[in-house]
């Protein structure tokens, strides 16, 4: 990890904090309840990140497990809910995707021996999120609301998710391969960090520019 990457990694946590703070400032302006949950989500993400960074000074805990079994699943389940249940208004889809995702944890038994795929459930989660992103994209493109895209919160969120989760999908899926090619790994790791920052900035923007009623 070079200095540049270290610098962005340090910044990432503060950008997350910024997003959480902005969402709090706009907390009461959101008429729809689920945007308040988005606020909560950003706050929890920030706190988890803080805990992940300095938590080991307070207590002893298994950091990878904390992320793998709490933070990442929470991210996916929240976005499944936001996309499927709230934006696309298909609660059934949310239940189906969530069930598949949770069941995929059992696959760890099967893949325990060969760690070619970095994390099966992460890849699966990303793929399902990708489907939702595409569905959301189609919804936006074919709706007359496209005229007011800059006021649509989901536009910014969708863009952020695309850049971060979808963009880094090949990276995490083939992590074991990529790590052997230093150059590619370096570039892709920088992309991962930068897109993370962009995503949280877009989340902040969605609160500032997004129409409060939608």
């Amino acid at each position: 990890m070079n200095d540049f990457q270290r610098f962005i990694q340090e910044s990432l946590i503060w950008v997350e904090g910024l997003a959480a703070l902005i969402s709090l400032l706009y907390f009461n302006k959101s008429k729809e309840r689920y945007w308040k949950y988005f606020s909560f989500y950003l706050i929890i993400m920030f706190l988890s990140e803080v805990f992940g960074k300095w938590g080991d000074q307070l207590m002893d805990y298994n950091k990878p497990k904390f992320f793998n079994y709490f933070v990442i699943p929470l991210e996916f389940l929240f976005f499944f809910w936001l996309y499927a249940a709230k934006s696309l208004k298909r609660p059934k889809l949310f239940y189906i995707l969530s069930t598949i995702y949770i069941l995929s944890f059992s696959s760890e038994y099967f893949f325990a021996g060969r760690k070619i795929i970095f994390s099966f459930n992460y890849t699966l989660g990303c793929l399902m999120l990708m489907i939702l992103v595409i569905m959301e994209y189609y919804k936006q493109v074919n709706s007359s609301d496209i005229l007011n895209f800059h006021k649509n919160k989901m536009f910014y969120i969708n863009l952020g998710i695309t850049l971060f989760y979808i963009g880094t999908l090949p990276f995490w899926t083939f992590y074991k391969f990529i790590i052997e090619y230093r150059d590619v790994y370096d570039i892709y790791y920088s992309y991962f960090l930068i897109s993370g920052i962009i995503m949280y900035l877009l989340f902040s923007i969605s609160f500032i520019w997004g129409r409060q009623s939608s």
Binding site: S144, I146, L169, P170, F171
Partner: protein
């Protein structure tokens, strides 16, 4: 393999962005035309209403003039007649006679004004009769020979359309006589399968260069606006020393 996958993702992303922008522009265009259409309809309705209100106001004033002021003037006229008849003050009888004459003159003017105002000509008469009357009036001046042809006997048009046709014809004739020093004006009003009516007016005057006309006259704009009220196609061609041709078509709405 990984790079291919990543490149694939990247290309998909770019394509998605391009489609998004394209769709946005398309929707924007649709939205704009919709608004434009709405504005046009609104404008048209506004102008039509204006015309109707104008007509109603004129009739109201005309009736008021006739019923109120007219009656009073009649009374005044009667009194002066009586004064003359009684001949009490002989030295002013000549003056009284003068006053009586002025009053009678005013009464006559008032009656004719009231008649023009309340005249429901346009509503009651056929468009052909209306234009023919206008043509006859102009021909009486003998400054210009106007001919009028039409290829139908009867055409049911509503007030607004008749009004527009008549006013445009009047405007054109006035302009031709005033500015073009023409000798002949030819008016044709035809109806066909595609067009509900087509009005064609042509003069053989000195014409004008449209691109060169500085004032872009109010009369011209007026004619154009009137045609727009009823959604008719308006075209005016003019060439110096060759005359001016006006063509207005109202297509049949399917």
């Amino acid at each position: 393999m990984i790079m291919i996958l990543f490149n694939l993702f990247f290309v998909m992303f770019v394509v998605a962005v391009v489609i998004y922008i394209w769709k946005y522009k398309q929707r924007k265009r649709e939205h704009d035309t919709e608004i434009k259409k709405k504005n046009e309809t609104h404008q048209r309705e506004l102008l039509a209403t204006q015309l109707e209100i104008q007509q109603a106001t004129m009739q109201q004033i005309g009736r008021e003039l006739h019923d109120n002021i007219g009656q009073k003037l009649t009374l005044v006229s009667l009194y002066t007649q009586q004064l003359l008849y009684e001949n009490k003050v002989a030295e002013v009888s000549e003056r009284i006679d003068q006053v009586s004459q002025i009053i009678n003159q005013s009464l006559q003017d008032l009656r004719s004004l009231s008649k023009t105002l309340t005249d429901d000509n346009i509503n009651q008469k056929e468009i052909v009769t209306l234009i023919q009357e206008e043509v006859d009036n102009t021909n009486d001046f003998k400054s210009c020979k106007v001919s009028f042809d039409h290829n139908f006997k009867q055409l049911d048009l509503d007030f607004v359309q008749k009004n527009v046709l008549l006013r445009i014809t009047q405007e054109f004739i006035q302009n031709s006589i005033k500015h073009a020093q023409c000798e002949n004006i030819f008016i044709t009003l035809t109806t066909s399968e595609e067009a509900l009516w087509e009005l064609n007016i042509r003069d053989d005057g000195k014409g004008f260069d449209r691109s060169n006309s500085t004032s872009n006259g109010i009369g011209l704009t007026n004619m154009k606006n009137r045609a727009a009220i009823i959604g008719a196609e308006f075209s005016l061609e003019s060439e110096e020393n060759k005359g001016t041709t006006l063509n207005i078509i109202l297509k049949r709405s399917t």
